[in-house]
Amino acid sequence: MKTGLKKNDVLLIIIILAVAGSAYWLHEKIGTKGANCITVKVNGRIEGVYSLGEDQEIEINGGTNHLVIKNGRADMTEADCPDKLCVNQKAVSKNRESIICLPNKVIVEVDSSENSEFDAVSN
């Protein structure tokens, strides 16, 4: 059993990394346009839309999650779920970025106010 990389292995790695690279590039490219508000959804339903422009603190889902908006970035600072993945996630500020807390079914999404109307329809 040879363990060295074969030609196809290298090709596979290159293709995967290229896909990852272009997905990242696409996200950066689309992401920075007109992101100015965040949508908070619980269990698929929109609980509220908040502006990224003003600093504020939001209690989500009756206090299970605590969201802080500061300097145009939204960050989950507290959650009562055991894994705390949403708390450890970095603050979001770009369009389409999201913080997701699976145990509490909470989604915080960055959006631009222009297409949030469209989103409400398409959801």
Partner: protein, 166 residues
């Protein structure tokens, strides 16, 4: 036949132990959801040593057992989606007529790692009903390559030494 059943038991036990060892390793890569996937090492080795049906059974049994012991309903769902998608990708690359022998263990394992992550992301998107998590794809692809590479190298070394045992 008796021998096969015994080997299946050993592989199941090994996979379960690796799932446990994984929970003991304090290293998190600093990114949510990224882990080494040690149990996948056993699956990769089994892929080269057992019948495909047995490997699928091993994969499902491992996920269910480790899910009941260490996880919960959700983790079983995620592991099952990731595990089956990853195993299918690996089986295609290692046994598919088209690619037979053209990928090394490492390449097969990398495909496994990547598709494991893709499977989990798909379930995550279905559970929270959002497509926006797709921005996480680059992270998951790269981490799949890295962990798949590490597991593949290890599996290759183990397989080299296992040949005479079977």
């Amino acid at each position: 036949m008796k021998g096969r059943a015994a080997y299946f038991g050993v592989f199941t036990a090994l996979a379960l132990i690796f799932s446990y060892v994984e929970t003991l390793i304090p290293i998190s890569f600093g990114i949510p959801g990224v882990k080494l996937g040690l149990a996948n090492l056993v699956i990769v080795i089994a892929l080269y040593k057992m019948k495909l049906g047995e490997v699928y059974l091993l994969s499902v049994v491992r996920v269910l057992l480790s899910g009941f012991i260490f996880g919960n309903y959700f983790s079983i769902l995620y592991s099952l989606a990731g595990g089956l998608l990853s195993l299918t990708a690996m089986a295609l690359l290692s046994r598919g007529k088209r690619w037979k022998k053209s990928f090394s263990v490492t390449g097969v394992s990398i495909a496994g790692g990547v598709f494991h992550n893709i499977g989990q992301l798909l379930i995550a998107m279905a559970v929270v009903e959002t497509f926006h998590a797709a921005y996480y794809i680059p992270v998951l692809l790269v981490s799949g390559v890295v962990t798949g590479f590490l597991i593949g190298i290890t599996a290759g070394e183990v397989l080299k030494r296992l040949i005479n045992v079977f």
